[in-house]
Symmetry: C2
Subunit: 164 residues, 2 copies
């Protein structure tokens, strides 16, 4: 497994995301790594991430799948272009759609393992499929359609001077 997480390569102005931004002290700060052609992320929920007693709430699972998948898309874009990770301009992806199938209740007192792989690439779109498992048992499956973040999204962001 590589030493540096995909999210470490995000430029500062895009590193405040609640799910994956390394500069968001209130956020989840997930970290994703290549393991061959799979992207892997481990996350231990806090006790307050509960849904029904003893189980993770579904919104956290959706959040993890979302951010891990867009990170996987970004890292894939580097690979596809044979570019070294972290070189500018950083390929950044946003979520066009997110689908999660909850297969089993996910125990909260456990390390969750996400494994993602790319199933489709075309133009500005990368489709990422993933599983979330605990101790080898799949608890949820996700599919994210990620699209390259348009420049206009940064230029028109309200209430920010990130690109001033």
């Amino acid at each position: 497994m590589a030493d540096v997480a995909f999210q470490e390569y995000y430029p500062d102005e895009l590193s405040h995301c609640y799910g994956c931004g390394r500069l968001n002290e209130d956020g989840l700060c997930i970290k994703s790594f290549w393991e061959g052609d799979e992207a892997v992320c481990h996350f231990r929920p806090h006790p307050y991430h509960t849904g029904p007693p003893g189980y993770v709430y579904g919104g956290l699972i959706a959040s993890l799948i979302d951010c891990h998948s867009t990170a996987t898309a970004s890292a894939t874009a580097y690979r596809r272009a044979s570019r070294e990770s972290g070189t500018a301009p950083a390929p950044r992806y946003v979520t066009a759609s997110l689908h999660v199938d909850y297969r089993k209740p996910t125990p909260i007192d456990a390390v969750l393992e996400l494994r993602a792989h790319v199933t489709e690439m075309s133009g500005r779109k990368i489709v990422v499929a993933s599983t979330l498992s605990v101790d080898g048992v799949t608890c949820a499956e996700g599919v994210v359609v990620a699209v390259e973040m348009p420049d206009s999204m940064l230029q028109t962001a309200p209430g920010t001077d990130a690109h001033a």
Copy 2:
């Protein structure tokens, strides 16, 4: 709009959910109300709920759609049985699948409005479609397949004595 939120009727042992539990001090504590046949929820994100600068992160949107939809399913179950809200046993629903289409970036410095309605009911399943909008502009659309929470899920919840 009714005065009492759907979530106020959840029994205490099921009121710790990060998304919708009134007893989770760290959580989102969303509140959903009937407005005719639509269930409505308003939520103002915190600044740390950012995704790209100035916009809400997608995981929060998924979380809101998820919990608002299962609350709508629960409230619908009361209506379908012609039962008064809050009477025991409380009908509680969990998410079998969640789908979100992100139509536009969602500004973070705004009140988000979720509107949900039931599109299908069969047996233990209730399907809920919803929109998330800001100032009348739809930013995301969701579909949640909610299923009645099995008793076994409570009885086997690890690390809890909620039903002891």
